[in-house]
């Protein structure tokens, strides 16, 4: 019947639009990810290729502290940018080996309630990853956000500047106290000191809105992160970050990675003009097109 046929056509058109939107959302995510991995690959090649400088002993500053200034590649850390835990491949996500070195099962020691929240995020809210909206990565994620970054050691500070999300961390070395707890910052409030040759950074005052990865591992404002950057030689840092937050963890947990210098001649950090508040992922994945099956919230 004509009316049925018209209805069928409308339905077909709708189905085909759904397919197109679903495809578009996958393509968008794939583009993001391939962009990420190409940059990471480029950075890796930079470290190993023509710019490779043989590692020597740890350099020293006039005051005897290690000189760790220079350009660095973000560590792969078992695929931490995708998932800090070991995980199977999913839409737009490779399988991950995980970056957690404690506890031994390589899983975040969530409380039962926190584990349920994480599962809810995975099931319905992956598009809400703050990085997808161009918000700063937060700590520790900023270190393994897959773009180049740089350490500077001006008087009285260690400063880290990142291509990813054009973020920076200003870390005073003067032992000043943390900001009051009601001040919340996406990159947290970092305080640094040297413990022998190890740069220790204590970070509090984060927003609690940032995630650890693209796999829904979330945080709260009471997160306390202690990072240790230890130079192994002139080209390599050992990095550890220990997370403590009684609100959602049953015990502290630690991720570790080796971080290598990028000695490519004339390398510089470029401008990453990700526009804060970016909504593309939500638009692409709205309603039926959402590969994670969730509904986009109206903001």
């Amino acid at each position: 019947m004509p009316s049925d046929s018209a209805g069928m056509k409308t339905r077909q058109r709708r189905e085909s639009r759904k397919d197109q939107r679903f495809l578009a959302s996958i393509l968008f995510v794939m583009t993001l990810l391939s962009g990420f991995s190409m940059v990471a690959l480029h950075a890796q090649q930079g470290a190993r290729g023509e710019g490779a400088v043989p590692a020597g002993p740890v350099k020293r500053r006039p005051d005897g502290k290690p000189d760790i200034s220079g350009y660095y590649n973000s560590p792969n850390a078992g695929g931490a940018a995708f998932n800090v835990e070991p995980g199977p491949a999913a839409v737009g996500q490779p399988a991950t080996q995980g970056a957690i070195t404690d506890p031994p099962d390589k899983l975040i020691p969530y409380t039962a309630a926190a584990k349920a929240k994480r599962e809810e995020l995975v099931a319905h809210h992956l598009y809400d990853d703050p990085e997808a909206h161009c918000l700063p990565s937060g700590i520790p994620r900023q270190t393994y956000a897959p773009f180049g970054w740089q350490i500077l050691q001006p008087d009285g500070y260690v400063v880290m500047i990142y291509e990813a999300f054009h973020a920076y961390r200003i870390l005073p070395l003067d032992g000043r106290p943390h900001l009051p707890a009601n001040v919340r910052l996406w990159e947290g409030d970092g305080r640094a000191h040297w413990d022998g040759d190890t740069l220790v950074i204590d970070t509090t005052n984060q927003t609690g809105k940032q995630w650890f990865d693209m796999a829904g591992n979330f945080s709260t404002p009471t997160l306390h992160v202690v990072e240790k950057f230890t130079p192994i030689d002139s080209n390599t840092l050992n990095w550890e970050a220990t997370m403590d937050d009684p609100a959602i963890y049953t015990r502290p947990w630690t991720i570790s990675a080796r971080i290598t210098k990028n000695n490519t001649p004339n390398y510089q950090i470029l401008e990453f003009a990700c526009h804060e508040g970016e909504q593309d992922l939500i638009h692409y994945t709205q309603e039926e097109g959402n590969p994670t099956g969730g509904k986009a919230k109206k903001k």
């Binding site: 500077l152 008087d155 004339n266 401008e271």
Partner: protein, 232 residues
């Protein structure tokens, strides 16, 4: 009338103070960093209305030397400013605007670089001072900068801009051919003298320079926080 007189007194005091600052700029000798560089480090902020209209800060006074075509666009920008100002959409501020926004910025120095971090939208400017060239022809919101020391003055040359930033909230604008030369020096312990010379033959019939002072934040433990424009 009394108010008028006190207003005039205030103005003349301010002018006197400003000219005293510019005079002392020639005599003040900044301390050195641990690496022996003129020390401009610290957290600074412009407490003025340059972000409302840079024209008031034009060296030699007068009006900005727009080409006739560009003057029309500036008038149109001014009409649409409330919505069309790139900052209304949280875009990066560009150069020189990032320097006189009402947000603090911090200067760091080291051999081969200077770094300027702004609280606004956590933007930073890494200024190469190691002979590497400007990536001209690229399009960056904040441009690509190269610097050198002229005595105790930090001179920064920046180009490689998009044409999408403005100089202020009144719609003063530029093209992608913008080249900015900034001269930053210390007029006193807690005062910076800031100059920016704007060259953009596609927009202006001749170069022009704006000049102002900036003040140090001396509050104990003052630090740059974050102005997450969208998500604050």
């Amino acid at each position: 009338m009394k108010r008028m007189i006190s207003f005039l007194v205030a103005i003349s005091l301010t002018l006197g103070f400003t000219s005293a600052i510019f005079k002392s700029a020639q005599t003040y000798k900044p301390p050195r960093t641990s690496e022996g560089l003129p020390d401009l480090q610290g957290i600074w902020e412009a407490h003025n209305m340059a972000d409302a209209d840079i024209q008031k800060f034009l060296v030699g006074g007068g009006t900005l030397p727009y080409t006739p075509e560009a003057a029309k666009k500036k008038a149109e920008n001014a009409r649409q400013a409330k919505k069309a100002d790139p900052l209304a959409q949280c875009f990066m501020a560009g150069v020189p605007r990032t320097m006189y926004l009402h947000f603090p910025f911090q200067i760091f120095e080291g051999t081969g670089y200077a770094l300027i971090t702004s609280e606004y939208a956590h933007t930073f400017r890494y200024i190469k001072m190691d002979g590497r060239p400007i990536l001209d022809g690229s399009e960056f919101w904040m441009g690509d900068s190269r610097g050198h020391w002229d005595g105790d003055t930090l001179v920064i040359e920046t180009s490689g801009f998009t044409d999408r930033t403005w100089f202020d909230s009144s719609g003063n604008f530029h093209s992608g051919s913008l080249h900015v030369t900034e001269r930053i020096s210390r007029a006193a312990a807690d005062v910076l003298t800031y100059e920016a010379t704007i060259e953009d033959p596609k927009t202006f019939s001749k170069p022009f320079t704006i000049r102002m002072t900036m003040n140090r934040h001396t509050e104990k433990n003052f630090q740059i926080r974050e102005h997450e424009c969208y998500a604050f």
